[in-house]
């Protein structure tokens, strides 16, 4: 292969004219480098420009500015049928008038492959997605999950360098979706093809991806491995969008190379030993971000740093965990406790109105800029 990167988007902008006649940037100066063999996800809420980015890679749209490279070659206005990428469409886009076999064979016929080879490769592709023996059916005679597999087989049979998937599991029920996530990931590892995967489901992205680009309003907010984006979110948007987080408004009192002291007006208290990140200065307004499962909750005051007195306002039992909502001096936080012990009344462990202590361990918190 010519390039280390399967796909590269270099400073790509895509502007659309809205029906009202205004110009809006669906994709706004996006730069992404996607490595060969990588499972790369674009994650973001509805309308953030994921599909548009994917369509520019596939060749259905052309960038207004910037350039898309595939295997190091600038794509310019290369039409889709001359790019070595294939797409699994969100709506599957199966040809209803053709059988499953004909659907999967279509791409090979377009390449001018010989009939015998087509037969062999279609058979292999259908085996791969576990649709052996379904080849004579029409798409309408398959379930949603099976249709999804046909769409996958139809794209994979072309042995593309890059497979583009636009929310391919969006229409499936939760259980099937979880199964397919693992299957897709296994398939990707087995084939060694680069997958570019679009989803708005953060859990899905975390489960499957090698790297995730978190997008919002046409811009990439953060790019990194699942662990990085979850444990070290770059800003409040990412911390909020991926998983849940408590945000405490505060102001930096003192700051050194390794740690900072932050005053939290809401708690009328100081948090000490906070980890620092680049660009923070003394006196700056920040958010102290901490995940619900990382807040330590106890009945007794054990230490005397970074600990606050609070009152339980609500508890919600959800099986594996209990969500405990607490309030300290009017500041609301959510705490998550695993139900490690089997008991019939797990809520009774923390009951509404109970007085508790919350510990915010410095290594579990992040200081995020207010923007």
């Amino acid at each position: 292969m010519i390039s280390e990167f399967a796909v590269e988007m270099r400073d790509v902008v895509k502007r659309f004219i809205t029906p009202e006649g205004n110009e809006m940037a669906a994709v706004d100066h996006v730069t992404m480098k996607i490595k060969n063999g990588e499972f790369f996800s674009m994650l973001g809420s509805s309308g953030c420009g994921k599909t548009t980015s994917l369509r520019m890679i596939a060749g259905f749209e052309w960038p207004t500015e910037g350039e898309v490279f595939i295997e190091g070659k600038p794509m310019g206005h290369t039409p889709p049928f001359q790019r070595k990428v294939n797409t699994v469409f969100q709506s599957y886009a199966l040809f209803q008038h053709m059988t499953i076999y004909q659907n999967v064979a279509f791409g090979l016929e377009m390449e001018g492959a010989k009939e015998e080879e087509i037969k062999k490769r279609v058979g292999r592709a259908l085996d791969m997605v576990q649709l052996t023996g379904m080849d004579r059916r029409k798409p309408k005679q398959l379930s949603g999950g099976q249709q999804q597999r046909v769409a996958l087989a139809r794209a994979l049979v072309k042995t593309p360098d890059v497979l583009l998937l636009d929310e391919p599991l969006g229409a499936l029920d939760l259980k099937l979706r979880k199964e397919m996530q693992l299957e897709l990931k296994a398939l990707q590892q087995q084939l060694g093809i680069t997958f570019i995967y679009v989803t708005h489901d953060q859990e899905e992205a975390l489960t499957m991806s090698d790297r995730i680009a978190v997008m919002s309003k046409g811009k990439v907010q953060q790019m990194g491995s699942p662990v990085e984006v979850y444990e070290r979110p770059a800003n409040k948007f990412v911390a909020d969008f991926i998983g849940e987080s408590n945000f405490l408004e505060g102001k930096i009192r003192t700051i050194s190379k390794d740690e900072a002291t932050v005053f939290i007006p809401g708690l009328n208290a100081e948090l000490t030993g906070m980890p620092v990140s680049d660009g923070l200065v003394k006196g700056e307004e920040v958010y102290v971000s901490i995940r619900p499962e990382k807040v330590r909750i106890t009945e007794k005051n054990a230490i005397n740093q970074n600990i606050f007195h609070a009152k339980v306002t609500n508890t919600v039992y959800i099986g594996a965990d209990t969500h405990i909502y607490v309030e300290a001096h009017g500041v609301k936080l959510k705490v998550l406790e695993q139900n490690r012990i089997s008991r019939l009344d797990p809520k009774s462990f923390y009951s509404v109105g109970q007085e508790v202590w919350l510990m915010l361990m410095p290594e579990n918190t992040l200081l995020l800029k207010k923007d």
């Binding site: 259905f60 049928f81 709506s91 279509f106 791409g107 377009m110 794209a155």
Partner: protein
């Protein structure tokens, strides 16, 4: 009673089908039976129907004749068989040309910008607001020896210094064909448009994604998916064309007589409803046979109906 109705699915079905059954019976079955009875009758000298049972009318239609030259007792008179054949071939030709013209137009409209699409559809429909007969007369004005087409050609020829005698276009089979194609074009454009418009854009993208260029996409995806529209349009065009008489009357004159004209004249001019009825039934049977074989091969274009 009501209790029983609630429990019995078949009783419910009967009840629900009742209005349609009555409607069909009054408007279709009874007239058809009357036509059949009349067709077996005989014409009295003053133009009334004498109800008997004779196959004379059908024998006459088949071309068997006893009124022969050279003192023969029986011979073949090709008049009516010829008319039936001409009607049939005209219906085939009309349908063929209508499809050829309507498909590109429907394709163009379906792929146009949504804002312009409605305007184009509107333009297709406007002629239908004018009376059928008036529109055919308009063609007469165009095709006449002194008509617009001859004037324009004459004018161009004059500029090029080529001698030109006006073309005889009116009262020819060609004129009837042109009129028919014009009249029935919208009935083909609309169903084809509907089926083309229903094709999701992602299918075109999927085809391109899998390596198909524009031509292959059209042949492998667009065309097959729009076939239901073509089939529905064909049924909508072929059946009325088989029975029409106004176009051939005005643009064909005495030269181009179709089954429709034959039937019309039997009822109005010749005052022989018995022969007219026999001809109507033969026309119906022929149309049914063609439609039967056609729909057995292609279906009814049901996806259109279902949409």
């Amino acid at each position: 009673m009501l209790q029983r109705l609630r429990e019995s699915k078949s009783a419910q079905g009967t009840l629900l089908a009742l209005p349609t059954t009555v409607w069909l019976f009054v408007l279709l079955i009874i007239p058809l039976i009357l036509t059949l009875i009349v067709s077996f009758g005989k014409r009295s000298p003053d133009g009334d129907v004498i109800y008997t049972f004779t196959l004379d009318n059908y024998i006459r239609l088949s071309g068997y004749s006893t009124d022969c030259p050279d003192g023969q007792t029986a011979c073949f008179d090709p008049l009516y068989v010829g008319i039936l054949g001409r009607s049939m071939s005209l219906a085939f030709n009309t349908t063929f040309f209508v499809i050829t013209l309507a498909y590109p137009l429907a394709y163009f409209i379906a792929r146009a910008h949504p804002k312009q699409r409605n305007m184009y559809l509107f333009m297709v429909l406007i002629p239908l607001w004018t009376n059928f007969v008036i529109r055919v007369y308009a063609w007469m004005m165009l095709l006449r020896k002194e008509g617009a087409i001859n004037i324009i050609i004459g004018w161009v020829m004059n500029l090029l210094n080529i001698p030109f005698t006006p073309l005889e276009m009116l009262y020819t089979p060609g004129a009837v064909l042109v009129g028919m194609v014009y009249e029935f074009l919208p009935f083909m454009i609309l169903p084809i448009y509907t089926s083309l418009e229903k094709i999701d854009n992602s299918l075109y993208e999927a085809a391109a994604d899998l390596g198909a260029n524009a031509v292959k996409t059209f042949l492998r995806v667009t065309l097959p998916l729009s076939m239901p529209g073509v089939v529905a349009g064909t049924i909508l065009v072929f059946i009325p064309v088989m029975g029409t008489f106004i176009v051939s009357d005005i643009l064909g004159g005495r030269q181009v007589i179709l089954v429709g004209n034959l039937i019309q004249r039997q009822f109005l001019d010749a005052r022989d409803p018995t022969f007219g009825s026999a001809a109507s039934l033969i026309l119906m049977v022929l149309t049914l046979i063609v439609t039967y074989f056609y729909t057995r091969k292609f279906g009814f274009g049901e996806e259109i109906v279902a949409a």
